[in-house]
């Protein structure tokens, strides 16, 4: 019993000694850095309000609109000529 108490007390002393020794060295990790992120995170993209394409203002230039119409016409011509006749 006496030995057990002796071992317990001395273990406690050893723990105190080790904590006193490691305290200043452990405190060396008190210093950190926080580099600012340049790239948007996935969270940022999710929170961004996405406007639907239809809701875009009619700011398409006329030349672009004409080209689109021409291309659409050409596409329809091709599809109608290649379609098999009933």
């Amino acid at each position: 019993m006496k030995n057990l108490i002796k071992i317990t007390f001395n273990s406690l002393l050893l723990v105190i000694l080790l904590s006193v020794i490691f305290l200043p060295i452990g405190m060396m990790s008190l210093i950190n850095y926080d580099e600012k992120q340049v790239v948007l995170s996935t969270k940022d993209t999710r929170t961004q309000i996405q406007e639907p394409l239809d809701a875009l203002p009619g700011s398409v230039p006329k030349e672009v609109e004409e080209i689109i119409m021409k291309l659409e016409g050409a596409y329809q011509q091709i599809t109608s000529s290649t379609q098999p006749k009933e």
Partner: protein, 192 residues
């Protein structure tokens, strides 16, 4: 019941622990102010805005800790090499007493327990700065300085321990006291 060595070691460890801890905190604040680096204090400690600032302050702060460690080790080495009660020169001893600084003369138990604490701090600082160097969080020369200080102080302490062993005759397996031999010889003479 309590181990005398452990109690002594705890007693000897408190002052250097407080000194090193205070040096770390104060040096971080002073260096960041001196260099004009922005620092925030949060739950995780001192937070710097960039990696370069962090490395700079961390290196100089570790250097400040090494300087404190050097001062402590010099004080202990001086006591153990020059004022050790087992091998202090008589003239120096007289001078010390005349100057009333006899507290500098100490025994092996007191000196070696103190030396063990300061050396363990030196080795821990070396280990931690080595880890920081590998992680590229510290300048190379700070680590080399810590290594140099640890190496030199270890060698000097070994020299003192060797001196102590020589004086006490422990290396030859002889007894601590010289007159024991004489007694033995006297006994032999008496027998003859």
């Amino acid at each position: 019941m309590l181990s005398k060595v452990l109690v002594k070691l705890i007693d000897r460890a408190i002052v250097p622990a407080i000194l090193l801890l205070a040096t770390r905190v104060v040096s971080i604040v002073l260096i960041s102010r001196y260099l004009g680096l922005p620092v925030k204090i949060s739950k995780s400690g001192f937070v710097f805005e960039s990696y370069a600032d962090f490395v700079k302050v961390n290196s100089y702060s570790t250097l400040a800790m090494i300087v404190i460690l050097i001062l402590g080790l010099i004080y202990i080495l001086l006591k153990s090499l020059a004022f050790h009660d087992s091998h202090i020169k008589p003239s120096l001893s007289a001078k010390v007493f005349s100057l009333k600084i006899q507290h500098l003369i100490q025994g092996s138990f007191h000196l070696y327990s103190e030396a063990a604490i300061w050396l363990s701090y030196a080795y821990l600082l070396l280990l931690f700065s080595g880890i920081m160097l590998v992680s590229k969080l510290l300048y190379n020369w700070v680590f080399y300085m810590a290594a140099g200080v640890t190496l030199v102080s270890t060698i000097l302490f070994i020299l003192d321990v060797e001196e102590e062993i020589k004086i006490k005759g422990l290396d030859k397996g002889e007894s601590e006291y010289e007159y024991d031999e004489d007694k033995e010889l006297l006994c032999k003479e008496e027998l003859e």
